[in-house]
Symmetry: C2
Subunit: 633 residues, 2 copies
């Protein structure tokens, strides 16, 4: 397409460059023939740098010429391809989610089965095997990330949020980032760290979408010319929006929540035309995930059976609420706001400290750090349940489908761990010495009154909170949804226990309070509103609880906002990603261009300039856009 | 606030006028002291005229001066009031919805009970009473609308859509429009016309929101200075968005659907900050409606019991689908697209014809027209079931909760109408001689195979479709959701019947197909996507059907788009409301300012103009915004 104007630095050629320039992908910039190809070696210097994207159509002569040359089949082909890509993004993200879940569940399952089998003979050997298995998984994750895909570390949501709002961070949407994210999160989540796979899934969806938009990866020769018609940043942003929604839809099996998540994150560039396509992608994900889970129901997927997706089975749970419950619910909201804001603040300090002192010393330190945290996490999760004494099994209804104690190694409630008697279980092991999804399911579980002692829950809360804070920012793919849900549901269940004790007549279920606690912590930390609310409703599949969830979110967000910004905003700021609000801040209202130009590299051009001069200025950097103003210095 | 610069036509004063000007409310323009007050009598000339709204903050000296004078308590008060108003809008719209539903259900219930009682003795007297009751209700509705609130006619959604996109239609958000809408729709829906109360509820919510934003109605001395701080169009638009979402949430008991409806209709001015407040309002509506319905469950609300809100009870219905069902579902989508597009085209012609020939002749003709249509509707709905022969009751499970035949006068399935035997019912009367909500519930009803004969359904489809087309555009408040759902569910059930006959082994339910048919017709006519899909999911409270509903909507929208625009867009265009897409159309890309200025009133000003000249030009009209360009003629 660019072959017609090789090396011609004329106005039309430059203009064409301006609107057809792709964000630097896989280090293979799409300007190989152009005059800017003289400095490709600078690429490495730009790691971590951000670049703005052009989401407006630039209506210049070159654009119009290009449009005039298009055949009449172009528009139908373009629309068809858009929808086809939406389908592919849905299928791809769905499959990626299933793959990650399958792998994580099976690794965790094997790990726990093996450890259970060994501790029947020797606790020390069992402990050692448990620690080493976790270490191996975490090491594989951190090795992949540090050596191969540095952009795959963390949750990726701040970067995606930036991308959707017009800021491109180098390397976040590459093929190797995708691979690193998928395999890295299998290692980090399977290795039992205090982090989740939901954030990485959003990033995975966005990567798949972006790679499709590029027509494959140029570096790995997986591309095709036929599908390379999404040249503008706007089209690619639309695809990434679809991918982002698909990721959320896959992570929580919440198609509507996915759409609303994409919508809430895209603060300033939303187009309502896009919504339907985003929704379609989410629905495709739902169909793919559902089909796969139906297939797995027959037992072909190893340990991945009922588990693997956070779905709270509402059947038998609390379906209604009374007005007296509003007070404890409000208390949960306040706790969520406080703990969430504290979490944001602590992670901010730790991330700053890591950046300044630790991660400068190279990749080995990062690997060592992740392995150390893995050792600590394994030790805590193994040793603490040992210190708790066993509880007798409650009298369960025979048709409730719950077994107590649960046979070791399979997913379920009432883990017996070291308890010798047949009708005993260890309540701390049920949440601590279990895979994340099972732990959450156990915390959310309905009709299991007094399953946990307050002491166990408080121990778990303190330890897991500390672990989540310390783990945040290590060089592995890490989501904050699952730690948030675990922390929140723990104190939620604590409040629920006291409500059950206090209001004896109400049809109250501790599991409902655990759910509200989870919502409150996520609200207090991430400050998302509508999407979080809908995700929570879709997880429970019960619209009756909507007002309670909303109340909790309103309070926790308000309390959190009193102290600091949301987790993603804080992290984005720390990473140097400028997120613009839809409305300018008060302080910006009184600024003028002179203030904004201060300390910036400003190029002054005379009123009448030669094209060559302007071209040379444009070539001297890799920015995609330039504010033009009349400053006087 | 404006008292400081009475009659001073200086620049600051004019600028202040520009940003503090409210849309003309109740004929009491907020410029009584200003120089523009000289021509208030022109008001009547502007009925039906549209005016653009200023949704951008105009950053001029006056605005900054005003901001500087605000006390430090202003911002907290402002935010608090915003949320308080969101609460009030939710409560108000919820109460309005309950009032309308209560009134409609009770009027309908009494009407049917009385008619049933009389036809035991004489069919002719029963028919006469039925006709007269309907006529009285419709007459009250059309009289209120034509004499008192002309802007309350129709659904109001095109106008609200226009308002949210920056176009103010005169009179749509007045207090009398609100009153006319509420009482008018009770009359028109209770009178059995082929129209619904859902569109009017959206308008009602918007009116309540706008009146709150104005701080009450100035004309009826119901205002307060304390709450009049929402001066800018932007703030008022935000409130109206909340009201619009509240209306949908109230109409369908679908809080998420309400938010998405508002989002989808607001094409170009969406702010993600607003979303949470909109969602809060919707949730408040859900709580209010739910509380009221719980209260009514004890039988205190007359005929308003289980009925009154379109909720399809999923229990016992089809919960899953197989891949073989995709073909019949796609066929439903195509039928929906074709019939929906035809509906739009026919209503367009009829509305044009009415405007040109009928409604020019004055209010009496409008009243006569509505009464005539009421007579025709009553006759058709009474006489046609008489011509059908009775069907024997199917063998129902004793615990299904369905009675056959249903006792006359109460809401339910299997209406026996004139059938003498105890175990017979009239299938056409079950849908035709019943209140709308009951008819829809009967069409959606699960586990009632072969309840309707194909002949009855086809008769109903043809007659109701014709009635809906003819009724559209009369001078009564009229929504198109319910007619759409009734038409769609009829052919959906027809397709479902053939599926049940053809694929004998599948767990297919005719009611599910009725639901899909309803979605397809609404999709084919209104061309809404995400919001409609979520509303349908919330009505059924079953996420499993989401992919099917989505498939149906995708197909029906695509088929419909092939023929014409959506119903609301067509009607908005007919009413002269310019709806701008978020992206300019292809033809606009090649236009320049000269083309746009053609045939328009263009005022040319010299480069250096006196303030007095500009002020006189600004005063010569009532527009809120002016494009300034350099045209050469």
């Amino acid at each position: 397409m660019l072959s017609g104007d090789q090396g011609l630095p004329d106005g039309i050629g430059m203009a064409r460059l301006a609107w057809s320039r792709l964000p630097t992908a896989d280090g293979a910039a799409p300007l190989p023939e152009g005059p800017a190809a003289s400095a490709p070696a600078q690429d490495e210097l730009f790691v971590g740098a951000v670049e703005s994207l052009d989401y407006e159509v630039i209506e210049n002569y070159a654009y119009r010429e290009e449009q005039a040359q298009r055949s009449k089949f172009w528009v139908p082909y373009y629309i068809m391809l858009k929808w086809f890509f939406a389908l592919l993004i849905g299928v791809g993200t769905g499959l990626a989610a299933i793959f990650i879940n399958l792998a994580v569940e099976n690794f965790s399952g094997w790990k726990f089965t093996l450890t259970f089998a060994i501790i029947q003979h020797s606790y020390f050997v069992g402990f050692l095997v448990y620690i080493l298995l976790n270490l191996a998984l975490v090491f594989s994750s951190v090795y992949i990330v540090t050596q191969f895909a540095p952009a795959a570390a963390g949750s990726g949501i701040p970067e995606i949020k930036g991308y959707l709002n017009g800021v491109d961070t180098h390397g976040i949407l590459l093929f190797r980032t995708l691979v690193g994210k998928i395999f890295g999160s299998i290692g980090s989540v399977g290795g039992g760290l205090a982090l989740g796979k939901e954030g990485p899934l959003v990033h995975t969806g966005a990567c798949i979408a972006s790679l499709l938009g590029q027509g494959g990866s140029a570096k790995y020769h997986l591309n095709s010319r036929w599908v390379q018609i999404f040249e503008s940043d706007r089209d690619r942003r639309d695809l990434v929006t679809c991918g982002c929604a698909a990721g959320v839809a896959a992570a929580f099996r919440a198609p509507v929540g996915g759409v609303l998540f994409a919508l809430e994150e895209v603060t300033s560039w939303w187009r309502s035309h896009l919504m339907w396509r985003v929704f379609f992608t989410s629905a495709v994900v739902a169909v793919v995930v559902r089909s796969a889970m139906n297939w797995c129901d027959s037992g072909k997927c190893g340990h991945f059976g009922a588990g693997g997706f956070i779905i709270w089975d509402i059947s038998g749970g609390q379906e209604d609420y009374s007005y007296q419950e509003l007070l404890p619910v409000a208390i949960i909201g306040v706790i969520g706001g406080l703990l969430g804001a504290l979490f944001n603040q602590l992670t901010l300090y730790i991330t700053k400290w890591r950046r300044t002192y630790l991660h400068k010393k190279g990749k080995r330190v990062q690997i060592f750090e992740a392995c150390l945290i893995s050792l600590i996490t394994s030790t805590v999760s193994f040793v603490l349940p040992l210190l708790r004494k066993c509880s007798p099994c409650p009298e369960l209804e025979t048709n409730s489908g719950i077994q107590c104690p649960h046979p070791p190694g399979t997913d379920g409630n009432f883990v017996n761990f070291y308890c010798s008697k047949d009708n005993e279980y260890n309540d701390l092991a049920t949440i601590f010495f279990n895979s994340q999804d099972d732990a959450i399911r156990n915390l959310f579980s309905a009709k299991t009154f007094h399953e946990y002692s307050a002491q166990s829950l408080i121990t778990f809360l303190v330890m897991f909170y500390s672990l989540a804070v310390v783990t945040f920012g290590t060089a592995v793919p890490a989501g904050q949804f699952v730690p948030g849900i675990m922390i929140g549901s723990t104190y939620g269940r604590l409040v629920g226990m006291s409500v059950v004790k206090f209001y004896k007549k109400l049809n109250v279920d501790e599991g409902t309070y655990a759910l509200l606690g989870a919502a409150s912590f996520l609200g207090g930390s991430m400050r998302m509103t509508v999407s979080l609310c809908v995700i929570m409703v879709e997880i429970t599949n019960n619209l009756q609880l909507l007002p309670l969830i909303m109340l909790v979110l309103l309070i926790s967000k308000a309390v959190g906002d009193f102290f600091n910004e949301g987790l993603y905003e804080e992290q984005a700021r720390l990473k140097g990603i400028p997120l613009l609000d839809s409305r300018p801040k008060q302080v910006m209202r009184n600024m003028n261009a002179k203030d904004a130009c201060k300390n910036q590299k400003v190029v002054c051009l005379p009123r009448v300039s030669r094209v060559v001069d302007i071209v040379s200025v444009l070539q001297s950097n890799k920015h995609n856009g330039f504010p033009v103003s009349r400053c006087q210095f």
